[in-house]
Every structure is written in structure tokens, then in C-alpha cells.
Symmetry: C2
Subunit: 449 residues, 2 copies
């Protein structure tokens, strides 16, 4: 892949672009029919999204964003986005992104809606979708992929995109600036490296709970042939099954490749410690979501007990305050941000910087609808601008549903390659939207008939 050249201009904060409308669609894919994405807690997911289109006063310019959901309840996110839209519609893009951290705080802290969170659950997922669409719009205006826009921002302006509320006892604005300045002189090298070899990924496609042993074995072989080096198995429903399936995967991938397990919050704290003890013979790199995502203290206890196996969590950690505490207590060895659960790039930048300060690698959650497309930008930002290291870093990849995206993620030899098109990559094909809109889309009309 050749190196792509982008403009090196600073963003111009063009005040002539105004957001004129916000349309939201409930999109659902019937993935539960084939047990794709099944795990111990989510037995029948229909991978879904609340999909936002921001219209502007320019006929050819739109911003696209989404938040990922599992089927039922996508309508709640759609309604919540519609409730938040009046904080954005009618405003100029420049006024929104000029003090983008303040904008994010305004959207996340509506004085009446915040009672329903605050900054968690349906309303925060909606906040993410709306902010994701603004980031997409901004990057399109700047004619850069989102990762490049962020990597090129002056440090002060990047920090200005973050809402530091409740972070300052773990990370101050000055510490954030210091981190950004520290590796500044070498970032062009890292950018070139990403364009050349990409960011390492791992696959969850082989190990879903609903798959048979034969399916797992076949998928392992296929993944090996595609160059994957990290493999993840869903566990937690039945210990004997977990042992048998872990043995199959370890046998297929050999002793040197990395194996992770994911319990999807199935266990009590003591049970997690015991169960992991039983699986330790298969040489686990990390244990993901051993217990409630809310239980910072519990994760710290598990981490201490199962070391050197690492604890990983984050896909259901509601906001930056959870990550702050997980880092403060040494409860995680891997920080698994979710691009749609955290309040978009604004909140994610704060978590990337905290993780860097606490020296914990960020290994984003992906899969779902659009999560890989988003994560592709976030890992570039983290490596090029924040962490400046690939040590123990690997981003999740699941090979589902990419065909619905106008600019789908590109993975080569087990590595994510940086997006090249302007924006944040969430735009979907109009045919996909027509087919999978719920319940009026043609695919659902067939099923509901």
C-alpha cells in the first residue's frame, strides 16, 4: 500500500457551515439467526445501530455517526438522539468544535436528561452517536480521515476537545499536554509505519459461544491461514465446555500464539478467580469481563489473584470515570475502550491519555456494527499521537457486516490499515439502510410477514 498524502493545513474552523437537520434511523441486522456474536450474557444479539445523518447548508455535505446496539432498545437510542439533536441543529460546525470539550459537556449534561444517566446508558450511547457524526462532519470538511485530523491538531486544541470533569485527580490538562508534546518529534515516523504495516488486530470470529467444536476448529484454521496471531474464546457458561474448546484452539494455534478468554460478566469475583485457575493450563494472555463492568474493586481483586494473566475490560464501562478508577486501582492490564459507549472521540481521548499515564495498553473492543470502522481511527490516534508504542497492543476485529459500509475497514495480514477517505468511516450504503431499517426495511418486512 502506498503512503497517502494529506494536507498539512490546520483546521480552519469555517463558520459558514451550519447543521440544518438531524435524521436518525433504527437499523437492525438479524445476526441472531446464525448465533453470530453470541456469548454467555447475550444469547441472541441482532447487531444493530442507531444511525445519524446530519444535514448541512451545503447540499453535498453530511455528517454520519452511529451507536451500536443489540436489537431491542435501538428505538430508545433513536429517540434519545432526537431529544439531543436540538443542541446541534442550527449551530455552525465552527462553534461546535471550537471548544469541543465544552460542547461535549453541554450535550452530555442536559439538565433534565442527565437524571437518566448521568453519562451512562441510553442517553450516553445517544450522545456518542451525535458526537461521532459531528467528528465525521468535521473531518469531511477538512478532507482528512478522522485519525489524521486528530493527529494533526495542535496539542492545545486536542486537549481542548476533552471534557476533564471528574478526571483531574488522575490526569490534569497540563499532564495531557506533556504526554502529547513528549513524542511529537517522532510522530511522522509512526504515521508512515502505520501506512506501511498497520496496527495489529486479533479475531473473535472463531470463538463465539453458539458455535460447534467443528466450527471452532475450522474457523481457527481459516484464521491462521489469514495471518492471525491472537485468538479469543467466549467462556463462562460451562467449565467443561470451556476447557474442551480452549484445548481445541490451543491445539490449533500452537504454543506461541496468544489466547484470550472472554466471560462477558458471567462470574462472581471468587468464581472468576477459581474458574480462571481451571483454565490457566491453556496459557491465557488475558481474561476479559470476568464480572460486572461496574465493579472496579472486584476487578482489582481478580487482577491481583490471577496475575500474570491480565484482566481486560471496558466494552461496557460506561464512561471515563470508570476507566479512571480501573487505572487508579491497578484493576486492568488491558484497557478496552468502546467507540460508541464512551462519549465519542472527546471522551476517548481522555481515556487514551489516562491509559498512557498509567502505562496500560489500550486494546479497543470492536465487532458489532461499525465498531471496527471507528476503532481503526482510534488505534491510529493512540499509536501516532498518544501511546507511541505497540507493546501488548492489539485491537479486536470481527469479520461481520463490513459490506454495509461505504468505506469498510481494511485488514491485511492480521493488521488494521489506516483509513484513507475523509471522515470517520460510519457512512453506510443507502441500500443497506433501506433493507435493514426496523421494522419498515425490506429484510424485516419479509421476516415479520
Amino acid at each position: 500500500m502506498s503512503i497517502v498524502e494529506f494536507s498539512q493545513d490546520q483546521p480552519n474552523m469555517d463558520s459558514s457551515i451550519t447543521i440544518t437537520d438531524c435524521q436518525v434511523v433504527d437499523l437492525r441486522f438479524p445476526t441472531s439467526e446464525e448465533a453470530h456474536g453470541s456469548d454467555a450474557m447475550h444469547t441472541d444479539p441482532d447487531y444493530s445501530a442507531a444511525y445519524v445523518t446530519l444535514a448541512t447548508n451545503r447540499d453535498d455535505l453530511f455528517g454520519y455517526g452511529l451507536t451500536f446496539t443489540l436489537g431491542r432498545g435501538t428505538d430508545l437510542c433513536v429517540s434519545a438522539i432526537e431529544s439531543l439533536a436540538d443542541k446541534v441543529v442550527g449551530r455552525s460546525l465552527g462553534s461546535l468544535v471550537e471548544s469541543f470539550g465544552e460542547t461535549a459537556q453541554q450535550i452530555a449534561n442536559d439538565s433534565q436528561l442527565r437524571w437518566l444517566g448521568p453519562e451512562k446508558g441510553v442517553v450516553h450511547l445517544a450522545t456518542a452517536a451525535l458526537l461521532n457524526a459531528i467528528w465525521d462532519l468535521w473531518a469531511r470538511v477538512e478532507e482528512k480521515p478522522l485519525w489524521k485530523l486528530v493527529c494533526d491538531l495542535p496539542a492545545e486544541q486536542l486537549v481542548n476537545c476533552i471534557d476533564f470533569r471528574y478526571l483531574t485527580n488522575a490526569l490534569t490538562q497540563q499532564e495531557a499536554l506533556d504526554i502529547l508534546h513528549h513524542n511529537d518529534s517522532t510522530r511522522a515516523q509512526r504515521e508512515a509505519q502505520m501506512q506501511s504495516t498497520g496496527f495489529p488486530a486479533y479475531t473473535t470470529s472463531a470463538g463465539w459461544l453458539g458455535y460447534s467444536d467443528d466450527q471452532i476448529r475450522a474457523l481457527c484454521r481459516q484464521a491462521l491461514s489469514e495471518g492471525w496471531e491472537h485468538f479469543k474464546l467466549k467462556v463462562g457458561a460451562n467449565l467443561d465446555d470451556d476447557k474442551r474448546r480452549a484445548a481445541i484452539i490451543r491445539e490449533e494455534i500452537g504454543p506461541d500464539r496468544r489466547l484470550m478468554v472472554d466471560a462477558n460478566q458471567r462470574w462472581e469475583v471468587a468464581q472468576a478467580i477459581e474458574w480462571i485457575g481451571e483454565l490457566a493450563e491453556f496459557d491465557l494472555w488475558w481474561v476479559e469481563e470476568p464480572t460486572s463492568p461496574d465493579d472496579v474493586v472486584g476487578h482489582a481483586e481478580i487482577a491481583k489473584a490471577i496475575a500474570p494473566i491480565g484482566v481486560a475490560t471496558g466494552e461496557q464501562c460506561q464512561n471515563r470515570v470508570l476507566f479512571k478508577q480501573l487505572l487508579q486501582l491497578g484493576a486492568i492490564s488491558f484497557c478496552q475502550i468502546d467507540s460508541c459507549r464512551l462519549g465519542s472521540v472527546n471522551e476517548i481521548l481522555g481515556v487514551l491519555l489516562m491509559a498512557k499515564k498509567f502505562n496500560i495498553p489500550v486494546c479497543p473492543h470492536a465487532g458489532g456494527v461499525g465498531l471496527c470502522e471507528y476503532v481503526n481511527h482510534l488505534i491510529m490516534i493512540d499509536y501516532i499521537r498518544v501511546a507511541a508504542s505497540l507493546d501488548s497492543r492489539v485491537a479486536e476485529y470481527v469479520d461481520h457486516l463490513h459490506e454495509h459500509f461505504v468505506h469498510p475497514v481494511v485488514v491485511r495480514d492480521g493488521c488494521y490499515l489506516p483509513p484513507t477517505e475523509p471522515g470517520y468511516s460510519a457512512e453506510m450504503h443507502s441500500a443497506s439502510i433501506e433493507q435493514y431499517s426496523y421494522p419498515q426495511g425490506s429484510e424485516w418486512q419479509k421476516r415479520l410477514a
Copy 2:
């Protein structure tokens, strides 16, 4: 007040009663017009509720429940309750309450909706409303007020109402049983005591942030004349204002009555410690919500720094896992459960038992719409059946909106008196529902015209 006599029968789990329908109404009261309920984060609350009516196969039997909200977004809770209703409609009351903890877990862990939480935000508020209505229905069938139904349950059946998932490293079922058995022989005395003198309350009515100094002074005098002994002031927007207002209240209430302050999450951790230091001269009993409700570790740091002033929090703590950690880390001196944020009586019973184990008094949050009506039952359960102590225990009381309830809370000489009517006291007058339904109610049609 004379002692009320109730049947001493065990609940009969009548399987002939079936829930046939679930109707939900969006009710909003325009309280923002007079700054009632205003604080540092919620500047214009319209006290609201998603109000549930469960119909049964008996024409004269309904269950009423609600969750409290602040205006915008009540529609999200209504939709979420409608999404959860099919887990209840068509089932017999007996089958729902027989293993009530399991029922609560089923409702809280819908395999698709749980992605939107889990057990937090809009979906958990909806879960609370639906379970509250089932509890109301059960108590009506048993012809007892809810508190009396729960106090009369055999210990095993009471424990069976609790979902212990994620609690067992702080409280096991056996520990819960031991707590319940321990004070069993003396509970008739406590029940008689409650019927005679009631449970101590405190008032927040004097100290809302939107009120003038003169209003505060006048309200203090009124509250003193009504027998109140505890007073709470909203703080956190401006230190000079807070000092002036605290001085006014302390002057009015004298040195011996208790003064609490409530920052409604306004501060960073370090800022909380500093600000409270500045207010300490006014002899504060507790500081409520000093920072993010999600920040267990931060609350622990604040608690250590400001002792002997106690930290109180809970009204926005999303579920039992937060309370577990606050107790484990010694982060709170007062446990402020919210009757509609936690997943109804089921989850609250678990928190009451944990608080008892950790020897922390439960001082429930109330006010809002129906919260005092609910809390009245919960404090009776806590005192009579769980904590068996009134030491440092006081429940919030706000004198708003009670006129809309068919059986409003009764407070005498600054104490809550136990409810006497069957049910959980959430039933509202049909005229109130007609007037305040949003947006079609007559009060809103006037305003929106």
C-alpha cells in the same frame, strides 16, 4: 395515632391472579416555573414520572408503579417500560413473586436490552417502575401496606426476593439470613414504635439553590415551627453564596440541630476537599454527592480527608454494585438509596442488608414525584426487619406534589408515619393524570398553546 392491626397470614401466592395489561403514562409537573428542586446540576427540573398501571383478570385489582424523572426523557422511560412489559403481561402474580429475585434478574437482564445498561440508566429506571408495580399489586392482594408485607415474609422468602448476582463477595445469602434472624424476636416492638412515633425525617424544602436569602430564612422558621431537626442546603455553585446561606441557616436553627450540604456532583475530588474545608465552620453533619456518583475511589479519598464530616451519596448510584463498592472502600458514612433508581424493593433489600453488615446507616433520598411515598415503606422495612436501629438515621422529606397521590405520605412532628393502606402507595388521582400527562394533559395544553 392508633396501632393498625394487619392480618398475620403468610402470603398465599394465589395463582389465579394474572396480569393482563400494562399501561404507561408520561406525567410531568411544571416545577421548573418556581425553581422548586433546583440545584447546581439540575437547574430547571420539571418533576416527572413514568407511571405504570398493571391490569389483572380481576376488574377491581390493579398494580401501580412509577419511576421518577426530571422532564425531558420521561418518554424514554415510558418506551423502555413498554419494551419490558412482555416479561410480565400474561403471567400470574404467583409465578412472578414465587422466586422474585429470579424474576427481577430476568427483567433486568434481557439479552438485547442489557447492552443499553447493563442495570443502569433508562432501562434500569424502567425496570424499577415495572417491579414497583408488581410489588404494589402483591401487597394489594395480601391486603397489607408493602412495608408490612415485607416485614412479615419468612426470612428465606425475603432473601429469595433478592438477586445476589455480583453481591456475594460482600454479602452471601447466609449472611443475609443471619442478619434477618438476629433481631427477629424484637421486631413487634419496633413495629409498634413506628406506629406510635414514626421514623425521623429531614427537610430539603428550605435550601434549594434557586431560592433567595429571604425565602431560605422564612422557610427555616416555618420548618422549625413544624418540628424539623435536620436541614439541608444545596451548595457548589459559588463558595461565597454557600457561606452566606449556610450562615443564615445555622443562625436560624441554632448550634444543636443538624445541617447537611448537598453539592449535586459539582466538584472534582480535590475541589470537594477544599470547599468542604471552607464550609466546615458551620458544623456540617454530612456532605452529599461531592463528585461524580460513579467515582467510588474518589468518594473514598474525600471521606478520608473530610472526616469527621461524613460523605453521603446514592441518589444517582446506578445499582447495588456501586453501593457494594462504596461500602467496601469505606467511602460513605450515609447510604442514600433511591427507590426508583435501584431496581425496586428487590435490589433495595440487598443494599439494606449490605449496609447493615457494614454498619452504615441508610438515609434514603426522597422528594421528587412519589419518592417520599415509596421511602416511607423502605425505612419501615429497614428499621423493623434489617437495621433495628435509628442511630444516625434520617430520611429525606420534601413537601411537594403529595396532593396527587391517593394515599399521600403522612409526616408528623418531623417523622414519617407508617402507611396504613394496602399497596406501595404509588397510585395517583385520575384527575392528576388527566391534567399532567405530557403533552396531552390539560395543564400542558395550556402551556404549549
